[in-house]
């Protein structure tokens, strides 16, 4: 099956890193990699705009946004854990905004959407050659917005508008409030609220991104970064040379790449099982696997 032996995808290098920019780190989920890399690419003209998960009209409900300056990127810091249809804006970015070099960020399935837009641009006129940087974020699953309401307000007993940060890690979903409250619920409770479409996905670490990153594998406040493509390699090297990132070799950090591999393998194994079950869901009938 897909990626059975190559659970972390193809990559040129993997590093543990964090931004050197205090303002970016202040609102970052972990090492501020996405915001920092996009800000650097924007400032140096590698991209002329980026599609990010910006603030929405309801608390913690992100809306895709085309950011063309640092301030707008800062508004989009942090992980929201619910659906933000970033691919939706790719034609607005290239046509309404007139961008020629677009940076994008997305979870693995969205990265797949962007790459399909490049290789099979059925309704993506003039998009394929204008995607200049694709940043992927590690993802086990996301939640529909209504699930966030259920989890945060019902299970964790916290109003969404008072939440400052959300985090999934160490077997728990944790919400931190503006006034210092901390509320955690076990992932066992949140599993049923996951988006069903996530359960056929076999990609944990955004295999098709130029650069992908996430907390898993690195110490608190740092991110694990995979540099995957020639485009990604070139941008990462320039950002390092400009002093954007502090780095540590992956072999030197705890918990290390073994944990990333473990979680990637878990996701693939679990979801392969879902795909297998779907295949024989009925009587001599089943549901299709989109990745065949």
């Amino acid at each position: 099956m897909m990626m059975a032996e190559n659970v972390l995808g193809n990559y040129k290098q993997v590093i543990s890193a964090r931004s050197t920019d205090k303002e970016i780190l202040a609102g970052a989920q972990d090492g501020g990699i996405v915001t920092q890399l996009l800000a650097f690419a924007l400032e140096t003209g590698i991209i002329d705009g980026a599609i990010v998960a910006g603030p929405g009209y309801e608390p913690w409900k992100p809306e895709p946004m085309v950011a063309t300056c640092r301030e707008e990127l800062l508004d989009a810091r942090g992980t929201k854990y619910n659906i933000c249809p970033n691919v939706r804006l790719i034609k607005e970015a290239t046509r309404s905004y007139g961008l020629d070099r677009v940076g994008v960020v997305g979870v693995p399935c969205q990265v797949q959407g962007f790459r399909k837009a490049q290789l099979y641009p059925v309704g993506m006129r003039d998009v394929p050659d204008k995607i200049a940087l694709v940043i992927g974020i590690f993802c086990m699953e996301v939640f529909p917005y209504q699930s966030m309401v259920q989890m945060v307000e019902d299970h964790a007993g916290t109003k969404l508008e008072s939440v400052k940060k959300m985090e999934i890690g160490k077997g728990k979903f944790t919400v931190y409030t503006e006034r210092g409250g901390v509320s955690a619920i076990p992932l066992k409770v949140t599993h049923k609220y996951e988006q069903p479409g996530c359960h056929v996905c076999l990609d944990y670490v955004a295999n098709l991104a130029d650069v992908s990153c996430g907390s898993v594998g690195s110490p608190d406040g740092w991110s694990t970064v995979f540099v995957r493509t020639m485009a990604g390699d070139s941008i990462w090297a320039k950002a390092l040379a400009a002093g954007c990132f502090e780095t540590q070799p992956m072999e030197k950090v705890k918990p290390g790449l073994d944990l990333t591999t473990k979680l990637a393998t878990e996701k693939i194994t679990k979801h392969q099982k879902v795909l297998d079950e779907r295949k024989v869901m009925g009587v001599n009938k089943g549901l299709r696997n989109p990745y065949l």
Binding site: Q118, V122, P128, L287
Partner: protein
């Protein structure tokens, strides 16, 4: 580049937007015609009256069942062409021609229009209204490699083209609309809310509501772009894993 292939553009009932889209490859079109393909048939483009033998026929438009000549020509196309490509949504799925009820001067009786696959076997679908210059480019490059390339290029081209060949054989894509996206993706629990469908829709009939596509079905023109663009309709993993070199190749052949 002695080993060129022959291509023709066959015009059924369509708006010529697909042909314009092909031409929107600008100098890429010249590279294509200089190095890889001879245009042996095409209304206004080639001085040829009857459909000749050719390697690839690009068919634009739906077939009008009351237009005897159109029916003859589409059948002739199938007999004369090695590969028949349905170029654009009218040829693939009927598109706006599905809504035609006739009554237009000077042939008011021309009222029934079908996608070409209702009458002939089609080898490759290039959906979209209009199909994008870049998808036409990608298919042109891979079709050439499929016919004339070395073993490795043939294999890559075959893998790239396979999903578009599967669309042509599918029982439902020739009837595509937003409903197809509902039935084949959303209803099967496969949608993850990426927004590709909404971006792809040429009439902006799809908006994302709480992360999921909602279609204004009265606006839908039955082009099938949403379904085909969806990463959960088809996603040939081996081809996609090689996206960087494959995209660079497609870009360079015609643009460089």
């Amino acid at each position: 580049m002695a080993d060129k292939i022959t291509i023709g553009h066959v015009h059924m009932s369509g708006c010529t937007g697909c042909l314009v889209s092909l031409a929107d490859n600008y100098e890429g079109l010249f590279s294509l015609l200089d190095g890889y393909a001879d245009l042996v048939y095409g209304l206004t483009l080639a001085d040829v009256r009857h459909i000749p033998k050719m390697d690839v026929a690009l068919v634009e438009g739906s077939v009008c069942l009351q237009d005897k000549l159109a029916v003859e020509e589409i059948n002739e196309t199938r007999k004369k062409a090695t590969i028949v490509v349905a170029l654009g949504a009218c040829a693939c799925s009927g598109n706006i021609n599905r809504f035609d009820r006739g009554g237009q001067a000077n042939q008011p009786q021309h009222e029934s229009f079908v996608p070409i696959s209702d009458l002939i076997d089609v080898d490759v679908f290039i959906p979209g209204c209009a199909p994008t210059p870049q998808l036409i480019r990608n298919v042109a490059v891979t079709a050439y490699l499929f016919l004339k390339g070395n073993a490795e290029q043939k294999a890559l081209a075959g893998k790239y083209l396979k999903p578009l060949m599967d669309l042509a054989k599918s029982s439902f894509v020739s009837k595509a609309s937003f409903n197809t996206l509902m039935q084949e993706v959303i209803n099967l629990g496969l949608c993850m809310g990426c927004g590709s469908c909404s971006a792809a829709c040429p009439v902006r009939a799809i908006h994302m509501e709480y992360g999921k596509p909602q279609g204004e079905r009265d606006l839908c023109i039955n082009c099938g772009a949403c379904y085909s663009q969806c990463p959960r309709s088809f996603f040939p993993i081996e081809v996609m894993n090689g996206f960087e070199s494959t995209h660079a190749l497609m870009k360079s052949v015609m643009n460089g």
